[in-house]
C-alpha cells in the first residue's frame, strides 16, 4: 500500500507558542483514518499545513509524495476539504456557492450534486447569511462530496448536523471508500469514528500519542493493565488521556 498522507516530526511555531511538536501521521490509500485529540491539540493546524495554507516550521508533510506548500494548486485538484466552521459569502445563495467552488476544479457532476442536495435536504435558494450552522456545513459538504477527489480531508465535518444528516454523511463516507479513495477524518464524535475509521492517530499537545487500528489501541490499553476487549474507542481515548 502507498501512503497518501505522510507526516513525520512536524513542527509549527506561531511566534513563541509551539502548536505542533514533532507530530507523525500516516494515512494509507483506501483508508478512513480517524484523527483525534482534545481541543487545541493541533489537529486543525496539521490540516492547514496539509492544505498548504500555512508552512511547516520543521519536519516533513507530504501529500501523494509531494510538498503541499510548494504544489498546493496541483494537489488541491486531487483533494476536497470540509472545515469544521464554514464561513460563507453572505450575499451568495448556497447553490451559487457550491457551483462557484466546483467551477474552480472544472465543474461538478450535476447529477451527483443534485443527488447530494436531495439527500442532505438543502435549500439552495437561501442566501448564506440566512443559513443555520448545520446548513452552512451542508453547503461545504455537498461542494466537497460532489467532486471526484482521491482524498477527502474532513475537519469536524458534521458539527451542527442533525442525526439524520449525520447518517447520510456516514453513507457518503462508505461510498468514498467503496470507490477506493481515502479520508482523513478529524472528529470528536467518537462513536462515529469507531464505526467508520480503519486506523487512528491520537495526538496531544502537538505530538502523536498513539497510532494504529482499534485492535492496536486495545493492545496498548491492555499493557496499561485494563480489560480492553470491552472498551469502546471513547473508553480508549479517555484512558490514553488520563494516563
Amino acid at each position: 500500500m502507498s501512503a497518501v498522507i505522510e507526516v513525520s516530526g512536524l513542527v509549527k511555531n506561531f511566534g513563541q507558542t509551539r502548536a505542533l511538536d514533532g507530530l507523525d501521521l500516516k494515512v494509507e490509500k483506501g483508508q478512513v483514518h480517524g484523527f483525534l485529540g482534545p481541543n487545541g491539540s493541533g489537529k486543525s493546524t496539521t490540516i492547514r499545513i496539509l492544505l498548504g495554507l500555512i508552512r511547516a516550521s520543521g519536519g516533513e508533510a507530504l501529500l501523494f509524495g509531494e510538498d503541499p506548500w510548494r504544489n498546493a494548486v496541483g494537489l488541491h485538484r486531487r483533494l476536497a476539504y470540509v472545515p469544521g466552521d464554514v464561513n460563507l459569502w453572505p450575499n451568495l445563495t448556497g447553490g451559487e456557492t457550491i457551483d462557484m467552488l466546483g467551477s474552480l476544479r472544472g465543474g461538478l457532476d450535476p447529477k451527483r450534486k443534485q443527488e447530494l442536495v436531495e439527500r442532505f435536504e438543502l435549500d439552495l435558494t437561501k442566501k448564506a447569511a440566512a443559513y443555520s450552522k448545520g446548513n452552512r456545513q451542508k453547503v461545504a459538504l455537498i461542494a466537497a462530496l460532489a467532486t471526484d477527489a482521491e482524498l477527502f480531508i474532513f475537519d469536524e465535518p458534521t458539527s451542527g448536523l442533525d442525526p439524520l444528516k449525520e447518517a447520510v454523511f456516514q453513507d457518503c463516507v462508505r461510498e468514498i471508500i467503496g470507490r477506493g479513495d481515502t479520508i482523513l477524518l478529524s472528529s470528536h464524535i467518537l462513536r462515529q469514528l469507531e464505526h467508520l475509521a480503519d486506523t487512528f492517530t491520537i495526538i496531544r499537545r502537538g505530538a502523536t500519542v498513539e497510532t494504529g487500528t482499534l485492535h492496536d489501541l486495545r493492545q496498548i490499553a491492555r499493557s496499561a493493565g485494563r480489560d480492553p476487549d470491552s472498551m469502546s474507542l471513547e473508553d480508549l481515548f479517555l484512558s490514553i488521556y488520563r494516563q
Binding site: L51, N87, N91, T97, M100, S103, L104, R105, T125, K127
Partner: protein
C-alpha cells in the same frame, strides 16, 4: 418591567467590551486635534502669515468644496476650525457608526442579543446601551477637543462651540445609525447605508458651499461649519443637531419595539439555486463580491463630478474676479476653468483612492472572516486569487475616475449646452489613475506582510489628503509635497500631459504590487 430594563447592565457590559477601543480612539482623536493646533500655531504664528493664508485660499472653490467655507481663515482659531471640521467630524461619525452597530445590529446578527434578552433584559436595552456608550465617548471627545484648543491658547467659548459641533454631527450619525440598524438584518449592510448618509452629507455641503449654500443646510455636516466657530460663533445650528438626534432616536426605538428580534424592515429574499456563468470563474467571482462597492463608489464620485460640472459656469466668474487665483492658475494655463477642474479631479482621485485601498484589501477582509481556507483549498493559487482582486481594483479605479471626469463634462454641458469638454475631461480622469494605483499598491505591500498591518494604508491616504490641503496653501517644503503620489500627477486638463511621471508611478505601483504578492506567497494564512 419596561423595554429598558437591564440598560445599566448592558451599558456596563458594553463599556467593558470597549475598554481598549475607547481609550485608543479618544487618544487618536484628541491627538489629531492637538496636531492641528500645534501645526497651525507653528505655521501661522503671526497675523501677517494668517493674512497671507487667507489671501491665497479664501474663496477658492476647489478648496471650499473639499474643506468648507474659508471665511474664518484670518484668525488662528478660524483656520484650525476650518481644517479640522470636515476630517474630525467624519472620523467621529465613523466611530459613532461602528460603535452603535457593534453593540446593536452586529450583536443581533450573531444571536448574542437573544442570550441577553433571555437573561431578562428588556428589548430596548441593547440599543439604549449602544447609544449611551457612543454618547459617552463623544462627550469625552468634546471635552478633550475643548481642552486641547484652550491649552493651545484659543478662546474658550468658540473652542467649546467647535468641539460640540464636531461631536454633535457624530451624535446625529449615531442616532441615524440606530434607525438603519432596525432596517437591515445585516450589520454590514447597515454600515454601508450609514456610510452613504455620511458621504451624502459631505457631498451636499461640498456642492452647497460652491453654489450658494442652500444644500449646505440640508446636510448635518453643513451645520457644523455653519456654527462658524472663531468667526461668528453661532450656537443655534447645534439645536438642529439636537432636534435631528431626538427625532431619529425616537424613530429607532419605535421601529425596534414593533419588530421581531433578528428581523429587519428589509428581509433577505431567496436567490438563484444555480450560479450564473459570470461567477464560475475566479475573476468573475471576485468581481461579484466587489461589485456593490464598485457601483456605490462610482455613483458617489459621478454625482459629485456632475454637481461640480453644473456649477462650472459660476466658478469661472468667481475665479476671474479674484486676482490671486487668476495669478495662481494663470501660471498653469490660460484657461482658469481647466485649472479648477484639474484640482477637482485630484480631490476626486483622493476620495477614489479610498475605494482603491478597500478593493485591493478585499482579500484581507476575506482572510479576517475566515473564508479563505474554503476557497484556497480548491485548486486556486494564492497569488492568482489576490492578483485577480488587484486587477479588478485597478481597472475599476481607472474607469471610476474617468467616469467622474466625464460626469463633470456632462454637468458642464447640461448647463452651457456645450458638451465639447466631456471627452477631454474623461481622458483627464485617466491621468489620475496611476496615483490611485500607487496608493493601492502600498496597501497590498502591507497585506503581503500581514493582514494586521493593512489599516496603516488608510493612515497613508490621510497623509496624502493632508499634504494636498496644505500644499494648496503653498506652505509645505517641496520634499514633503513630493511624498504624495498625487503631487506628481499632471494637472490635466489644464496642462499638456507628460507621460514620464505617470509611467514612473505605474512602474512603482507594479513593483510594489509584485513585492506584496511575493510576500503573500511566502506567508502563512491568518
Amino acid at each position: 418591567m419596561s423595554g429598558f430594563t437591564g440598560t445599566r447592565q448592558a451599558l456596563l457590559f458594553a463599556l467593558k467590551r470597549d475598554r481598549v477601543i475607547i481609550p485608543v480612539w479618544l487618544v487618536g482623536l484628541i491627538g489629531w486635534m492637538a496636531m492641528y493646533v500645534v501645526s497651525y500655531s507653528g505655521l501661522y504664528g503671526t497675523q501677517a502669515e494668517l493674512d497671507a493664508l487667507y489671501k491665497s485660499v479664501a474663496g477658492n472653490p476647489a478648496v471650499e468644496a473639499m474643506s468648507g467655507p474659508t471665511g474664518g481663515l484670518r484668525s488662528l482659531g478660524g483656520a484650525i476650525a476650518w481644517d479640522s471640521t470636515p476630517a474630525l467630524s467624519i472620523i467621529c461619525a465613523v466611530y459613532a457608526m461602528f460603535s452603535v452597530i457593534r453593540h446593536s445590529r452586529a450583536e443581533e446578527e450573531d444571536a448574542r442579543t437573544d442570550l441577553l434578552l433571555a437573561s431578562g433584559a428588556g428589548r430596548l436595552a441593547p440599543l439604549a446601551a449602544a447609544l449611551i456608550v457612543t454618547s459617552i465617548v463623544l462627550a469625552l471627545a468634546a471635552i478633550g477637543f475643548s481642552l486641547v484648543l484652550v491649552i493651545g491658547g484659543l478662546a474658550a467659548a468658540p473652542s467649546i462651540l467647535l468641539a460640540l459641533g464636531i461631536t454633535g454631527f457624530a451624535l446625529v450619525i449615531a442616532s441615524t445609525t440606530a434607525v438603519f440598524a432596525q432596517v437591515t438584518t445585516k450589520a454590514r449592510a447597515a454600515r454601508g447605508l450609514v456610510g452613504v448618509v455620511i458621504g451624502v452629507s459631505w457631498l451636499m455641503r461640498a456642492i452647497g458651499d460652491t453654489s450658494g449654500g442652500t444644500l449646505t443646510w440640508l446636510s448635518p455636516l453643513g451645520w457644523v461649519q455653519e456654527t462658524r466657530a472663531f468667526w461668528g460663533d453661532r450656537w443655534w445650528p447645534l439645536l438642529l443637531m439636537v432636534l435631528a438626534t431626538a427625532v431619529t432616536v425616537r424613530l429607532s426605538f419605535w421601529l425596534l419595539s414593533r419588530r421581531d428580534i433578528g428581523s429587519g424592515l428589509i428581509q433577505p429574499r431567496p436567490g438563484p439555486a444555480h450560479a450564473s456563468a459570470s461567477i464560475l470563474h475566479p475573476l468573475g467571482f471576485s468581481f461579484r463580491i466587489q461589485r456593490a462597492t464598485i457601483l456605490g463608489w462610482t455613483a458617489m464620485l459621478c454625482v459629485y463630478g456632475l454637481a461640480i460640472g453644473t456649477i462650472g459656469d459660476n466658478i469661472e466668474g468667481i475665479l476671474e474676479s479674484s486676482s490671486a487665483f487668476s495669478e495662481a492658475f494663470a501660471s498653469l494655463s490660460s484657461n482658469l476653468l481647466d485649472s479648477y477642474f484639474a484640482s477637482i479631479l485630484t480631490v476626486i482621485a483622493l476620495l477614489g483612492a479610498g475605494f482603491t485601498i478597500s478593493a485591493v484589501l478585499r482579500p484581507a477582509a476575506e482572510e479576517n472572516r475566515d473564508r479563505v481556507a474554503l476557497l484556497l483549498a480548491e485548486p486556486l493559487g494564492k497569488v492568482r486569487w489576490v492578483a485577480g482582486h488587484v486587477l479588478i481594483a485597478w481597472i475599476a479605479s481607472a474607469l471610476m475616475i474617468a467616469a467622474a471626469g466625464l460626469a463633470i463634462g456632462i454637468g458642464l454641458g447640461l448647463v452651457s449646452g456645450d458638451f465639447s469638454q466631456a471627452p477631454t475631461l474623461f481622458a483627464s480622469g485617466f491621468v489620475q489613475a496611476p496615483a490611485m494605483w500607487l496608493t493601492g499598491s502600498l496597501a497590498l505591500l502591507l497585506f503581503g506582510i500581514s493582514s494586521r498591518l493593512t489599516p496603516i494604508a488608510w493612515g497613508l491616504l490621510a497623509v496624502f489628503v493632508l499634504i494636498w490641503t496644505l500644499a494648496s496653501f503653498g506652505n509645505l517644503p517641496d520634499w514633503v509635497v513630493d511624498l504624495s503620489p498625487f503631487s506628481h500627477t499632471p494637472a490635466a486638463p489644464a496642462v499638456s500631459v507628460s507621460p514620464e511621471p505617470l509611467a514612473v508611478m505605474t512602474g512603482i505601483a507594479v513593483l510594489l504590487t509584485a513585492m506584496g504578492l511575493f510576500l503573500w506567497r511566502r506567508r502563512d494564512l491568518a
